[in-house]
């Protein structure tokens, strides 16, 4: 059967090692120990999230450590997302309908 849900994820020492490898792989350094600790905490949360996504995904996708693993979701979306289409421009799919040209 499936091992789904049985893996408790990396333990504290393991986590630090995984984070160190992440820093090496993606050339990440942080200005002070406090920021390092904060990023480690975010990294741990992202690992847990990846595990959850893995469990929820209905396809064949694999989730885990990526170059964005030390970013919060808000930072990630702000840095790499675009604007939310439809909000700023009021774009609607009603082109051609009776509403087109009204305003």
């Amino acid at each position: 059967g499936s091992l789904r849900g049985q893996d408790p994820g990396p333990q504290p020492q393991e986590l630090k090692e995984v984070f160190r490898l992440f820093q090496m792989q993606y050339n990440r350094s942080y200005p002070n120990p406090a920021e390092h600790a904060r990023r480690l905490d975010i990294f741990a949360q992202n690992l847990a999230k990846a595990q959850r996504l893995q469990e929820e995904d209905l396809g064949t996708a694999e989730f885990g450590v990526t170059q964005f693993s030390d970013l919060t979701e808000e930072e990630f979306v702000q840095l790499y997302g675009s604007r939310v289409a439809g909000e700023a421009l009021g774009v609607s799919r009603k082109v051609g309908s009776e509403e087109w040209g009204e305003s």
């Binding site: 499936s2 091992l3 789904r4 893996d7 994820g9 992202n46 999230k49 990846a50 595990q51 996504l53 893995q54 929820e56 995904d57 209905l58 396809g59 064949t60 996708a61 694999e62 989730f63 885990g64 450590v65 990526t66 170059q67 964005f68 693993s69 970013l71 979701e73 990630f76 979306v77 702000q78 840095l79 790499y80 997302g81 675009s82 604007r83 939310v84 289409a85 439809g86 700023a88 421009l89 774009v91 799919r93 082109v95």
Partner: protein, 249 residues
């Protein structure tokens, strides 16, 4: 439409994967990739166009703070074409500069742009018969994505909230045995036979080391992450002969 389609398999059609770095310009990179692919398909000409021009000459002038694919196409129309990446290179610093469109020779241009129907079948038909198109999806799941086909539900990836533009380059189906083989940095360490799964192949702009060599796959047929919300493409075509009309006496 054919059962599978991958424009990467046509030589010199899909330009190398870009890296937006600290600039929030996925929208410009997706539009640039769309124009490049269409020029290769329609005119058999391999071009790499200037993303920096799209950013510098964007009507809002703050292209690194996000934008819309249709604004990129409007910029191309307004500038009467795009310079080459070599002549007007991407800065990547997150800053935009003065628009230098007039200083450079244009290597590609478009006639128009259109929004396709929000229907996966018609998107596939257009993709297979005309070329790659841009789509805007919910970016959320890509932060942790490594490889494989993402199949999300509206709860795990809201299809109404789309915030990342990419280039759709193909579609296909996984073989029935694919997937579920774990690797060290992922959480999937077991194998389970899977049914084949229809997917879209998308070109991202986070460099060739992210995802599947810069690409990723989304499930096809379930509007995963809102892929059908804004399918937009430039129109690049050989100008048709002008039809003669005659004015009545």
């Amino acid at each position: 439409q054919p059962p599978t389609c991958d424009w990467r398999n046509k030589p010199n059609t899909i330009s190398p994967v870009r890296n937006q770095r600290h600039c929030n310009c996925c929208w410009a990179m997706a539009a640039a990739g769309n124009i490049e692919a269409l020029w290769a398909i329609k005119f058999n000409r391999s071009v790499e166009v200037s993303v920096q021009q799209l950013l510098d000459c964007d009507r809002c002038g703050n292209g690194c703070k996000g934008g819309f694919v249709w604004d990129a196409f409007l910029t191309v129309l307004k500038n009467r074409g795009l310079a080459s990446e070599t002549d007007y290179p991407f800065d990547g610093s997150g800053k935009t500069h003065r628009c230098l469109a007039e200083k450079h020779k244009k290597v590609a241009w478009i006639q128009d742009f259109i929004m396709l129907q929000a229907c996966e079948q018609s998107i596939a038909r257009h993709l297979a018969t005309q070329g790659p198109i841009t789509v805007t999806i919910n970016v959320k799941l890509l932060q942790q994505y490594q490889k494989g086909v993402i199949k999300a539900t509206p709860t795990t990836c809201d299809p109404r909230h789309v915030d990342h533009s990419v280039l759709l380059v193909g579609f296909g189906k996984t073989k029935s045995v694919e997937g579920r083989q774990g690797k060290a940095a992922s959480f999937r360490s077991y194998t389970r036979p899977r049914r084949s799964m229809a997917y879209w192949t998308l070109k991202n702009s986070w460099g060739p080391h992210w995802g599947e060599e810069g690409y990723f796959r989304l499930h096809r047929g379930s509007n995963t992450c809102g892929i059908t919300k804004y399918p937009v493409t430039a129109i690049v075509d050989i100008p048709k002969k002008k039809q003669q009309v005659s004015c009545p006496p």
